[in-house]
């Protein structure tokens, strides 16, 4: 279980630069908001980050990103 979890996290580490590029092209304000929250580590910022990441505003771009990824590369889809 731990191996699977770490592999998934490592894979998303590799995808983060591509996700950042996609968010810059789709919603610059959202990207800026996530950038500012990323640097902070207090409890309130973490809960704000969680709220932002679970909002519909982030949900749609991430779905589009995953869809683009699947279309370009079947290995990413797998």
């Amino acid at each position: 279980m731990r191996t699977h979890k770490l592999t998934l996290q490592a894979l998303w580490q590799l995808l983060r630069p591509q996700l950042n590029t996609h968010l810059y092209s789709v919603d610059v304000e959202l990207r800026a908001e996530l950038d500012s929250l990323e640097s902070l580590s207090d409890t309130e910022s973490i809960s704000q980050m969680v709220d932002t990441l679970t909002s519909e505003r982030f949900h749609q771009p991430i779905l589009n990103f995953v869809k683009l990824l699947k279309e370009e590369d079947p290995n990413a889809e797998f």
């Binding site: 279980m1 731990r2 699977h4 979890k5 770490l6 592999t7 998934l8 996290q9 490592a10 894979l11 580490q13 590799l14 995808l15 591509q18 370009e72 590369d73 079947p74 290995n75 990413a76 889809e77 797998f78």
Partner: protein
């Protein structure tokens, strides 16, 4: 596939009923596809039964009472069948029944009185202010300690480096390939792997409908009027 397994695990550990059903439902097509016959048929029956659960039981499940825990901490709940395995283990090790008795009547007395002895032990500990219940603190979880997080971060970084060296998400290829030896798969294998979830969805949906209809008929009729029938799935 991995994310579904993680959702399922989280649902049990945190006692999230809707997530438990969602994750299990998403796993079912894979049981059909990869010939896990028993899981496929009984998993379907399980889902249909859970859709027809009485309201008072559903309320209990939604409050998290479909899993149990030993200590008052976070993210430590397990299925009841897993916890009974733990109870069996307490009997089989030193301090339980091993080396103590093989007589069936003594064994029964030990088993049937276990809950009372546990209650007495718990009250005695409370009397002497020695308790198993820690404060609800996330840092008491073994995976949240500083040492464990450093180990996980190090392992994750090493794995990311290794994946990057093998060109994962960098080499855009039209076919699935093995990232170690770069072997390409055939078209049929690619379709089978990528479409595993969708290919079995139709058979799963039709089976779920049939089982659900059967369950509704069973619950609407009184059980004493029904002859015994064996349903083949």
């Amino acid at each position: 596939m991995v994310s579904k397994m993680l959702y399922f695990t989280r649902a049990r550990r945190d006692g999230l009923w809707e997530l438990h059903l969602y994750a299990f439902r998403r796993m079912l097509p894979f049981f059909f596809r990869y010939d896990y016959v028993n899981c496929a048929r009984w998993g379907t029956v399980y889902l249909a039964e859970m859709a027809n659960v009485p309201p008072d039981i559903l309320l209990e499940f939604q409050q998290g009472n479909f899993v149990v825990k030993h200590a008052n901490r976070r993210f430590n709940q397990v299925s009841p069948d897993q916890s009974t395995e733990w109870l069996n283990a307490t009997g089989k090790k030193s301090g339980g029944l091993v080396g103590f008795t093989k007589v069936a009547s003594s064994l029964n007395r030990w088993t049937l009185s276990y809950n009372f002895r546990t209650l007495i032990a718990s009250h005695t500990k409370q009397m002497f202010h020695v308790t198993m219940d820690d404060d609800d603190d996330i840092y008491t979880h073994t995976e949240c300690t500083k040492g464990r997080r450093m180990k996980d971060d190090g392992d994750e970084a090493r794995m990311a480096t290794s994946l990057k060296q093998h060109g994962v998400f960098q080499n855009k290829v039209d076919t699935l390939y093995n990232m170690i030896n770069k072997d390409l798969v055939t078209v049929s294998i690619q379709e089978s792997l990528l479409g595993a979830q969708c290919l079995e969805k139709n058979s799963l949906i039709s089976l779920l409908k049939n089982v659900s209809i059967w369950l509704q008929i069973m619950t609407s009729m009184s059980i004493s009027k029904l002859p015994y029938t064996r349903i083949k799935l």
